[in-house]
């Protein structure tokens, strides 16, 4: 399997899916994110990303709004088509 480039969650476009590979925020924010279901290996779907301002993602059937800054601390690999 070829390895896919690692990007941040903020780089996904609306409608794209990816797998979380790591959380790079500080300890506290990581804890909050992981409680909500953002854990390495989980599939994540970009519900709304307008290119600026906060984004909405769907993870484990839950829609969660994230500030762009927070989204940039979540590393993901894009799902292959």
């Amino acid at each position: 399997m070829q390895s896919l480039p690692i990007i941040t969650l903020a780089d996904l476009k609306s409608g794209e899916s990816a797998t979380i590979s790591a959380l790079k925020a500080g300890r506290n924010i990581n804890a909050r994110l992981s409680t909500l279901g953002f854990t390495p290996g989980v599939m994540i779907y970009m519900t709304h990303n307008y290119g600026h301002g906060p984004i909405v993602v769907t993870v484990r059937d839950t829609r969660i709004a994230l500030g762009r800054g927070e989204a940039q601390t979540i590393l993901v690999t894009r799902e292959k088509e």
Partner: protein, 678 residues
């Protein structure tokens, strides 16, 4: 080798011998706990506060067969870590008060996420049952969850329910019976910490052995330490010998990633348990929520929608509430006053004056606001209930950034339109302290329903048909001022700090009429209680000050106080009566009207409104409305500001800030309006 998930602990409940048993309802926010609580207890419930906290504590009782069941509705919590006062309350209740049974409410529509709390509850000693709620919502989203399969996987009873339709209650009560009779066998499968962190945990277990307070299980305390729990960290730091603590602290620093590993482990446990139970036949369909959100969270469309919804809310409040309010004023209060005068014909003159001017004039005027307040809270409750409020926070995020805040601060501020007290308390959803303080300072700038009611009451006296436009303009201006103050405060005190924005957007759903009615009922009751106590007292005090010492208003104590501060009032064009009305609004904003009701009670053939419009010019009316909108927060709000900030300094800063801004703005408005010849 994977020992990890095969660890099961068998326990059989021995049955309950005592007559009263206590059951706690736990769950993440919005799972339907309170709906179930209301179903079971009906009106037989008591709403109070947790000791020392302003988190709402709901308890209730009901009879079931030969037993009295004492039910506690715990606050909604995502986990059992010490991230918020709610979470500390919920876990300390379960660990320290040891209820006989914990019922964890999860949502079938958010199954994995909502089971996270279960993965924490299941390792505790207290017996656990799971209510699988919202199965209708899951179906609507295109999947089904099989309770039996889930029960077999997790090893504790799983009871399917649709709480909003009262379906599944029988099943829950049957399980209560079996539990009481000791027929239930719990066979839970427990999540385990992954092997690479197991040895670290054992090390910590040994180090803290003998030092953990009795009510915390040792196993649990070491887990929480590894997760980075601040409360357990502080407790153990204070009880452990220094050297030992430093060893532990070092270990914790080396294993900063343990928290993430533990959370991942819990989710692995969850994934295994739900795998067989969830069935998704219609993969990839776009649900109702996503379709609505395409518009509701759109950067432009979403803002338009929000503006329309806010406008509608106010329009509804004004166009339905105000006529009812005026009708009550002229058709009930005025006749009631004359009636009281006839009944009390033989009583001493001061008794008549006390009843007619003090009580009916003061409290009566305030009670007529009830329709306005009910309509606002009903509208707000409705928006919250259908799930819209989180979207409002989302689209406001960009604007809130101007003030160094993020979207979540919008929620308490919006709640402030109803009442500033819950707004200040509602700032708890904001995780960072500077952002929270700033939101608290800004909250009193939001015109609460009491102040809007005062405006709605006074505006028609001066502006007739244009009253609605004028009120709307005033409210928009005070929001603009809020934003300007916010931007400035952020620059001065908080140096533009930024905080993390992480917020769940719940699924839209049709609200439950029953809980909506219950909420309106409780809010109205607390408003009437308020009117019956603080406002009654204040009305009597104002009345007394207005007749003593000489029995003549113009020479009364009240006139003296009014005259003393009159120079400041003059900047705004206010005479001493309006100034006194303003001052008494400190006890409760509605008092502004109550006071005018007392002061002008003597010309009883007219309603208060006519009297006012004959006495003052529109410029004065305008200035009075502006200063009332932004005057120092009411006593109840000041009390919660002190409580929530824990500091007199911030409380005083807030009061001075409001004082300066309100008097400044009203003086400016008066100067301009009188130039314009109003």
């Amino acid at each position: 080798m994977n020992l990890y998930h095969e660890f099961r602990q068998r326990s059989v409940s021995n049955g309950i011998k005592k007559e009263t048993l206590s059951i706690a309802l736990a769950g993440q926010p919005n799972m339907g706990k309170s709906t179930i609580f209301n179903l079971l207890t009906g009106l037989n419930q008591h709403v109070g506060n947790w000791p020392g906290k302003t988190v709402e504590k709901k308890e209730g009782e009901f009879q079931h067969n030969d037993h009295t069941i004492h039910l506690i509705d715990l606050p909604g919590t995502y986990s059992l870590s010490a991230n918020s006062p709610e979470e500390i309350i919920a876990r300390n209740f379960i660990l320290q008060e040891k209820p006989d049974l914990v019922v964890a409410v999860v949502s079938a529509a958010n199954l994995e996420r909502s089971l996270y709390l279960v993965s924490e509850l299941i390792v505790l000693e207290t017996p656990l049952m799971i209510v699988l709620n919202m199965i209708d919502v899951a179906e609507q989203e295109g999947f089904t969850v099989d309770a039996k399969t889930l029960q077999a996987a997790i090893g504790v009873p799983v009871i399917p329910m649709i709480a909003s339709r009262a379906s599944g209650v029988r099943g829950l009560l049957d399980y209560f019976d079996q539990f009481i009779e000791g027929k239930l066998e719990f066979f839970p499968r427990l999540p385990q910490i992954s092997a690479d962190h197991q040895y670290v945990k054992e090390l910590i277990d040994q180090l803290i052995d003998g030092f953990v307070p009795d009510y915390y299980p040792k196993n649990w305390a070491s887990m929480k330490l590894l997760e980075g729990d601040s409360e357990i960290y502080d407790i153990l730091k204070s009880v452990l010998p220094l050297e030992r603590w430093e060893t532990i602290d070092d270990i914790l620093k080396q294993h900063e990633d343990a928290g993430l590993a533990i959370a991942s482990g819990r989710y692995e446990w969850i994934e295994r348990n739900v795998r067989a139970a969830v069935n998704r036949p219609k993969l990839g369909q776009v649900g109702l929520t996503d379709r609505i959100d395409r518009f509701a969270t759109h950067p432009i469309g979403g803002l338009i929608l929000l503006a329309v919804i806010l406008g509608l809310t106010f329009w509804l409040t004004f166009s339905i509430g105000t006529p009812i309010q005026e009708w009550m004023d002229s058709k009930i209060l005025v006749p009631l006053g004359s009636l009281a005068q006839i009944w009390l014909i033989d009583a001493p003159a001061w008794v008549i004056s006390l009843v007619v001017d003090g009580v009916i004039g003061g409290v009566g005027a305030v009670v007529t606001f009830l329709p306005i307040i009910i309509i606002f809270f009903a509208a707000f409750g409705f928006l919250e209930d259908i799930g819209y409020m989180a979207r409002a926070a989302y689209v406001m995020d960009n604007f809130m950034h101007w003030m160094g805040l993020h979207g979540k601060s919008f929620l308490p501020l919006f709640l402030g339109f109803g009442c500033n007290v819950p707004a200040v308390m509602g700032t708890r959803v904001i995780e960072s302290w500077p952002a929270r303080i700033l939101t608290i300072l800004l909250a009193p700038f939001v015109p609460c329903s009491a102040r809007m009611a005062v405006i709605a009451f006074i505006a028609p006296a001066f502006f007739g048909r244009n009253a609605f436009l004028i009120s709307w303009g005033l409210i928009l201006s005070s929001i603009t001022i809020l934003m300007i103050v916010g931007v400035i405060l952020n620059k001065i005190f908080f140096k533009g700090e930024r905080t993390a924005f992480i917020m769940e957007l719940p699924l839209y759903h049709i609200p439950n009429l029953r809980s909506a009615m219950l909420l309106i009922w409780q809010r109205s009751l607390s408003f009437l209680k308020h009117a019956g106590t603080i406002i009654l007292m204040m009305s009597i005090v104002v009345w007394a000050l207005s007749v003593f010492p000489g029995g003549d208003l113009e020479t009364s104590f009240l006139a003296q106080i009014g005259n003393f501060v009159a120079p400041v009032g003059e900047w705004m064009g206010l005479d001493w009566k309006l100034t006194v009305a303003l001052i008494t609004s400190f006890m409760a904003k509605e008092n502004a009207i109550a006071t005018l009701g007392v002061l002008y009670g003597r010309t009883a053939e007219f309603g208060l409104l006519e009297t006012i419009s004959m006495t003052y010019s529109p410029a004065v009316g305008m200035a009075f409305m502006v200063v009332t909108l932004m005057f120092i927060p009411c006593a109840a709000t000041v009390a919660v500001i002190k409580q929530e900030t824990g500091s007199w300094k911030w409380t005083i800063v807030n009061i001075v800030l409001m004082l300066v801004v309100s008097i400044g703005a009203a003086s400016g408005v008066y100067a301009i309006a009188s130039r314009l010849g109003l």
